[in-house]
C-alpha cells in the first residue's frame, strides 16, 4: 500500500556546500540518500515530494560538518498481510516462484499455487494448467495476495498466494507473442 507521509532525518552537510545553494544541496542530497531505501517501519521510500522544514544546523565539533534536521514529505510503499498486489514473475522453480512488485520481492511456494497447475521444467520453467490455458513463467504478470511479510531494517520480503478467487496470471508473455 502506498502512503504519503512526513518523515524526519538528520542530514550532515560538508562545509564546502555552505553558500547560496545550501538548501538545494541539502535537498538533492536528501533525495539521493533516501529515495529507494527501505525502513522496516515505513516501507520503501518511493519518492520525496517536498521538504516541509529544515531546522537549525548544528556544527559538529572537530569535523566542521553541520547537521540539519529535515522534515520531508514522501511516498512510501509498504506491503501488508492480506493486501492484493500485482507483480512480475522473476524466477520459477519446483518450489514455487518469485515475483517483484516494485522493490518488494515475493515468494509464492508451490502449495500456494492452485492444485491444477503443475510445474514443467525445461528452458523456461513454468507452472501450467493441464489444458495449457494458463501458464506462469518468467515475466508473467500475476495478481497475488500477501499472506506474510518479513520486514528487516533494510528489506521487506513477502510470501504470497495465488490460490484464491481472482488471483493468478493477469498477462501471459507467452500468449502475447
Amino acid at each position: 500500500m502506498f502512503f504519503h507521509i512526513v518523515l524526519e532525518r538528520n542530514m550532515q552537510l560538508h562545509p564546502r556546500h555552505f553558500g547560496p545553494h545550501l538548501r538545494d544541496k541539502l535537498v538533492s542530497k536528501l533525495i539521493k540518500d533516501v529515495e529507494g531505501t527501505c525502513s522496516g517501519r515505513h516501507g520503501f521510500v518511493v519518492a520525496i515530494t517536498g521538504v516541509e522544514d529544515i531546522g537549525k544546523g548544528l556544527i559538529r565539533e572537530g569535523t566542521g560538518y553541520v547537521t540539519f534536521p529535515v522534515k520531508y514529505q514522501c511516498v512510501v510503499f509498504r506491503p501488508f498481510k492480506g493486501e492484493i498486489l500485482e507483480a512480475v514473475v522473476t524466477m520459477v522453480n519446483k518450489m514455487g516462484f518469485f515475483a517483484e512488485a516494485g522493490p518488494v520481492q515475493i515468494f509464492v511456494s508451490n502449495h500456494l499455487i492452485p492444485d491444477d497447475m503443475e510445474f514443467q521444467s525445461g528452458d523456461v520453467p513454468n507452472y501450467t494448467t493441464s489444458d495449457g490455458s494458463v501458464k506462469i513463467q518468467k515475466e508473467s504478470e500475476v495478481r497475488l495476495k500477501i499472506i506474510g511479510t518479513r520486514v528487516d531494517a533494510t528489506e521487506i520480503f513477502c510470501i504470497g498466494t495465488i490460490k484464491d478467487d481472482f488471483l493468478g496470471v493477469i498477462s501471459d508473455p507467452g500468449a502475447a507473442v
Binding site: M95, F98, F107, H111, S121, G148, F157, I159
Partner: protein, 458 residues
C-alpha cells in the same frame, strides 16, 4: 401475506446462531449471575421482528429493559449491520406523529401517552431491522466462517516450512531467496547444501514421531470436526437463506418515508393501500406483540408452518386479561380477522401431512379467536374514535401518496400479494361469518377516513 415471515424466521435463526452468547456489559459491572445478560440480544432481535420502526424508549419499555442497556445492544446490532437506526430531535407533536404511524402500521405500540405531551425537544432514537442487509450479512458471515476453516485445512495462507533431511535444519518460506539454487529446481540447505523438503510433504507421508506434527494432526482433526459441526448446526439457517433468496426483502424505507407511508395509506383510505402496507409487516406477530414472545422457541426447531401454528395457539390460548387487550388494541381487530385466516389456509394447503395434527388445534384456536374477537369488538368504537382523532391531527402530505403507491405496486408485482389476498378472503367469509363483518367494518372505517381527509383539504 407471507412476505415478511420467512425473513423474520431468518432473523430469529441468525439471532440464535450467532448472538445468543453476546453479553452486553458495562465496563464497571461486576460479573455476577444477575449481571449476566446473555441472550438479551436474541430477545431484542425477536422483538424487532414483530415491529417496524420503533422508538427505542418504547421498545425498552416493552422489553422491560433499561434504555441504556437496550441502546448498547442496538448499537452493537447497528455495527453488525442488522439494524438501522435514526435519531432526531423532536417535540411531543412529532412523537405523536410517529405513534400514529405506528398505530396505522399496527405496530402494536401503545398510542402516545399523556406524559409525552410535556416533552419539549428531545432527541429520540428509532430502530428498525434492515432485512435486505441482514440477508447479506448472514450469508457473508457464513461464507467467511466456512472459508476460514477451509483455508486453514488446505493450509492456505500458511507460511510453508522446509526442512533439511540430512541436518534437520528448518527454514521458512521467508528464507526462500537465500535457499534458491541456480543449478537445479530445488531449495538447498545453507549449511550442508542438502535438498530441502517441504514440511507438509513430510506430514503427508505419515512420517510422524515429531511432536510438532502430532499437534498439527490433532489440530487438523479439530478443524474438520468444526467444519462438520458448522454444516450441521447452520443447516436450518442456510436453508432459510435459500428460501429467502428470491423473495424481495421487506423494505420499510427511512423513518420519515415509513411514517408518511403508513399514515398516508390510512388517511387516504384506499383499502388496497391499507392492505399492502399492512402486508408488508409482521404477520400474526404484530397484533400481539407482547403475547407472542414464547412462540419463537417453537419456530426454531419445528417446521415453519408448525411453528407459526403453535406460536399462534400459544398466544391465543392464553386467556387474555383485560390489560393485555388494551395493550395490543390498536387496530388489531381487522388484522386478527384477516391474518389468522390466511395462515390457517396456508397450513391446510401447503402441508397435508400436518393437516391432521393441526386440525384439532385449529378448532380450539378458532374458539379462542372468536372469544378474543368479541372482546376486541367491544373496544372497537372507542378505539376508532381515538384513532380518527389522531389522524385528523396529522393527515399527510401529497408525497405520501406516491410513497404508498410505490410500496403497493412493489408488493403486488413481486409477491402476488393481491392474488393471495383474494384466495384468503373467500375462505374467511365462508367459514366464519364474523370475519366478513370484520372486513366490512374495515372498509367502512377507511372510507370514513377518506371523507375526513377530503373534507379537511377542501
Amino acid at each position: 401475506m407471507n412476505s415478511i415471515e420467512p425473513f423474520n424466521r431468518l432473523v430469529r435463526l441468525a439471532a440464535r446462531a450467532f448472538y445468543d452468547d453476546v453479553s452486553m456489559k458495562g465496563d464497571n459491572q461486576p460479573k455476577t449471575s444477575r449481571g449476566d445478560n446473555r441472550g438479551m440480544a436474541v430477545v431484542v432481535l425477536d422483538a424487532l421482528t414483530r415491529r417496524q420502526w420503533v422508538r427505542e424508549e418504547d421498545l425498552a419499555k416493552a422489553l422491560k429493559l433499561h434504555s441504556k442497556q437496550l441502546r448498547r445492544i442496538l448499537r452493537f446490532f447497528e455495527e453488525e449491520k442488522l439494524v438501522t437506526r435514526d435519531h432526531r430531535k423532536e417535540s411531543a407533536k412529532n412523537a405523536k406523529a410517529h405513534n400514529a404511524a405506528a398505530a396505522a402500521a399496527n405496530d402494536g405500540q401503545p398510542v402516545a401517552k399523556e406524559g409525552e405531551e410535556k416533552v419539549k425537544m428531545h432527541t429520540h432514537s428509532y430502530c428498525c431491522l434492515d432485512y435486505a442487509q441482514i440477508c447479506d450479512v448472514v450469508r457473508y458471515r457464513i461464507h467467511r466462517m466456512k472459508k476460514k476453516l477451509k483455508d486453514e485445512l488446505d493450509s492456505r495462507n500458511t507460511i510453508q516450512h522446509y526442512i533439511c533431511p540430512s541436518c534437520n535444519k528448518r527454514y521458512s518460506a521467508f528464507d526462500a531467496l537465500q535457499l534458491v539454487s541456480y543449478t537445479d529446481e530445488y531449495f538447498h540447505c545453507e549449511t550442508c547444501n542438502g535438498e530441502l523438503v517441504a514440511e507438509s510433504d513430510k506430514l503427508a507421508s505419515e512420517e510422524m514421531g515429531d511432536g510438532d506434527d502430532n499437534v498439527r494432526k490433532r489440530r487438523r482433526e479439530k478443524l474438520k470436526d468444526m467444519q462438520q459441526r458448522i454444516e450441521e448446526q447452520l443447516k436450518p439457517l442456510v436453508a432459510q437463506l435459500d428460501r429467502v433468496k428470491n423473495l424481495p426483502a421487506p423494505e420499510f424505507g427511512s423513518l420519515q418515508t415509513w411514517e408518511r407511508a403508513n399514515i398516508g395509506a390510512f388517511a387516504i383510505g384506499d383499502p388496497a393501500a391499507a392492505d399492502s402496507s399492512r402486508n408488508s409487516q409482521g404477520q400474526y406477530g404484530t397484533p400481539m406483540p407482547f403475547i407472542g414472545e414464547t412462540k419463537v422457541e417453537v419456530v426454531i426447531d419445528g417446521v415453519k408452518e408448525e411453528g407459526a401454528e403453535s406460536g399462534k395457539n400459544g398466544s391465543e390460548l392464553k386467556v387474555l386479561p383485560p390489560w393485555m387487550i388494551k395493550d395490543g388494541m390498536n387496530l388489531t381487530k381487522e388484522q386478527r380477522g384477516e391474518k389468522i385466516e390466511p395462515q390457517k389456509l396456508e397450513i391446510s394447503e401447503a402441508k397435508d401431512d400436518k393437516k391432521q395434527d393441526s386440525k384439532d388445534d385449529q378448532s380450539v384456536q378458532e374458539e379462542y379467536i372468536k372469544a378474543y374477537y368479541e372482546a376486541l369488538r367491544k373496544k372497537q368504537e372507542e378505539e376508532e374514535a381515538k384513532r380518527r382523532m389522531q389522524q385528523e391531527g396529522k393527515i399527510s402530505v401529497p408525497d405520501s401518496q406516491t410513497e404508498r403507491q410505490v410500496g403497493k405496486k412493489y408488493k403486488r408485482d413481486d409477491d402476488d400479494e393481491g392474488i393471495e389476498w383474494e384466495e384468503h378472503q373467500p375462505t374467511g367469509n365462508a367459514t366464519e361469518t364474523y370475519k366478513l363483518a370484520d372486513l366490512n367494518a374495515e372498509a367502512q372505517e377507511s372510507g370514513d377516513e377518506e371523507d375526513d381527509n377530503e373534507w379537511e383539504e377542501g
